[in-house]
Symmetry: C2
Subunit: 398 residues, 2 copies
């Protein structure tokens, strides 16, 4: 029994979000992720300007459980030497500084490759290592703005709207993890290392493939359709019920017939306005009014059950906390327990189940510099050398 | 020189979106993806109910370039035998039928594993292969509804809002591709196959890690903040300009000082309402009004340039077509040329650049059954047997 990345050593110079999400995915697959932090720590430790007792903000916990933390001042020659020793023995380096920063530190790809020819080296940045915008600063919402993402949701003509969480960071992190996994497979097959250049802008556009692809293939312009689905069927939309909203995914004729039966409106099947798909599209507003009236009699969760029993795709609108409490998830190992100084918490699994070697985290999120001594010892430094190095840095929290 | 998946054979029983996106990512890394289709073809070929000359809708082209197409009627014993022979020689099987369908066809995991013990077998479904909701039908917008995703965008109290493209399908596809890549690496290291179970609901929740993670770790409830960024800083928001909108990512004090200089409003730095971060948060509305007034003098693209030159993160709101035409992307190989019957088109690359073995597609998207004879020959069928099998199916388009 072995997970894909058991025994794989990742040196993680990344901070905040996209980089740590990438290494979270690697950690869940068994990689030993050593997080190299400055003395002040990853800024995510004090997320939102708030300080947390152990440098463990909820946002930091979310994407750093299972990793080890080493504090190194990369501008100090001796500590940079330790970082270089770490890289020399690693399989993967991940960094998300602005392009050029790692080179200036003496830890650029060429320098690292000289230390370790088989290395997989992944840079994550806003716009990539090449191109006229490479030096521009970027955060998630800047990329949401520039990539077209803010012009896809809502109704036609409504103002630009941000997707309400940093999904570009998430998609970029997973994209980088995928590229790294592929490069490790390639290394296993050929022995060769690889340099990977992941840009948030590129990843955001790749994420939009269901709309960007048809535009590139044939000039199809994306349309904003509110809650109406990709299919444009008026019964693939979100509707109020007695106590909340529900989304129906009724597209095909057979599904519409089942919907009519569950709603006890089989007369729609004889109504020329609604009987056929094309007619329903022409009479979308009248049909919507009828569906709203029919759904008023029960609550969203009851409709969800009744409709699904009849084979009709339907899902009540839930808040994220409601979703995370669904019975379905308890059988999916999506939420993994983790020990925190504040008690027991949970972190998210990777979104897939493996039959043979389940993903998981073995360690809580690290306090700042928790593993500095351990890692330096592992690199062969003598106790006196370690004392000298860690004396230069502030003591790790107790 | 070799790509990660050169020589890897993927048998793809998937259709519509999440499955084909998964195998698109594999195809870009060099895998030979054989798409097994029923005689009617993947419904994506006639997306939106429209027929297309070669069965190549823009949505189909977007996620199927580079694959080969084989038409097999899996309910016909002889053609099922060909599918089994295909599976026996493959490295990976991908399917996105409802749970149980592959078993009923005689192509479930246990049957496939008996043919091919080292197989990586990936099932993609709405809710997964286990749990009380496993049999429920699902499409992207149902999962957006149930997962909490529709309650994250927009202002507090505004109605549930769908993200305007099927991003759960995309995230699920990439999640599956990542799990497959990891399982192939594991197989390279141990020789063992793997069963993978990817659920759209699980992947959607994993995608929301920046908000789901803090809730699981410490009960932090997600908040809806419109276009205001994750940082809650009033200058990390979207603003009108002379001719369109721009998003600013001004969070830290130093960035705010640079913003004041570019906007020629250095007096804000002496204004007690705006000088410090906390004061700016208390006076967010007044500050917004001031920023709007200051931005009125120029267009969004000019501000984007001026602000970035000063190190301030800023991005003009673009439509997706405008984004795809950015000069930056031409240096990033994000859009790959592909030959189509209608002329030259483009498909999207994977969102990362590899230094050693660039990703790409070697073939146009396949017409329905274009490679049936070729693939059956490769499986060792004699011409007479192939004639008999393809006579049962409709002839592929010329």
């Amino acid at each position: 029994m072995a997970r894909a990345l058991d025994g794989i050593q990742v040196v993680d110079f990344s901070h905040v979000l996209a980089g740590p999400i990438c290494t979270h995915y690697l950690c869940l697959q068994g990689a030993d992720v050593v997080k190299v932090e400055p003395a002040a720590g990853d800024t995510m430790r004090s997320y939102g300007g708030q300080t947390h007792p152990d440098g463990l903000s909820p946002s930091f916990i979310a994407v750093n459980a299972g990793k080890r933390s080493v504090v190194l001042d990369l501008k100090d020659e001796r500590q940079l030497g330790a970082a270089r020793r770490l890289v020399a023995g690693a399989d993967v380096v991940v960094e998300n500084f602005r392009p050029g920063v790692m080179d200036r530190l003496g830890l650029g790809y060429e320098a690292c490759k000289a230390l370790n020819p088989g290395l997989v080296f992944c840079s994550i940045s806003g716009f990539g290592q090449t191109g006229p915008l490479r030096a521009n600063p970027a955060i998630d919402q800047i990329i949401q703005s520039m990539s077209g993402l803010m012009m896809l949701s809502g109704e036609p003509g409504s103002p630009a709207l941000r997707v309400g969480f940093p999904l570009v960071d998430t998609y970029t992190g997973l994209t980088a993890a995928f590229a790294i996994m592929g490069s490790l497979l390639r290394r296993a097959r050929t022995g060769a290392g690889q340099r990977i250049d992941v840009a948030m802008l590129d990843a955001a556009l790749a994420m939009m493939i269901p709309v960007a692809g048809p535009f590139l293939a044939a000039g199809v312009e994306p349309r904003r359709t509110g809650n109406l689905g990709y299919s444009q069927s008026p019964t693939a939309d979100t509707f109020p019920t007695a106590d909340g909203e529900i989304t129906l995914g009724v597209v095909r004729q057979q599904q519409f017939e089942a919907l009519c039966r569950v709603l006890q409106r089989t007369e729609w099947l004889r109504d020329p306005r609604f009987a056929a798909r094309r007619a329903r599209q022409h009479n979308a507003l009248s049909l919507r009014a009828e569906v709203v009236a029919a759904l008023r009699g029960r609550d969203a969760i009851t409709w969800e059950r009744l409709l699904n029993e009849a084979g009709v795709a339907a899902g009540a609108v839930r808040t994220l906390p409601q979703a995370l409490q669904m019975e379905q998830l308890s059988q999916r190992a999506l939420c993994l327990p983790v020990e925190l100084p504040s008690g027991r918490g949970q972190v998210l699994n990777a979104g897939f189940l493996l039959a043979e070697d389940p993903a998981g985290v073995e360690r809580p999120p690290p306090t700042l510099g928790q593993h500095t001594r351990q890692v330096l010892q592992g690199l062969g430094y003598a106790t006196a050398e370690i004392d000298a190095m860690t004396a230069a840095a502030p003591a790790p929290p107790p």
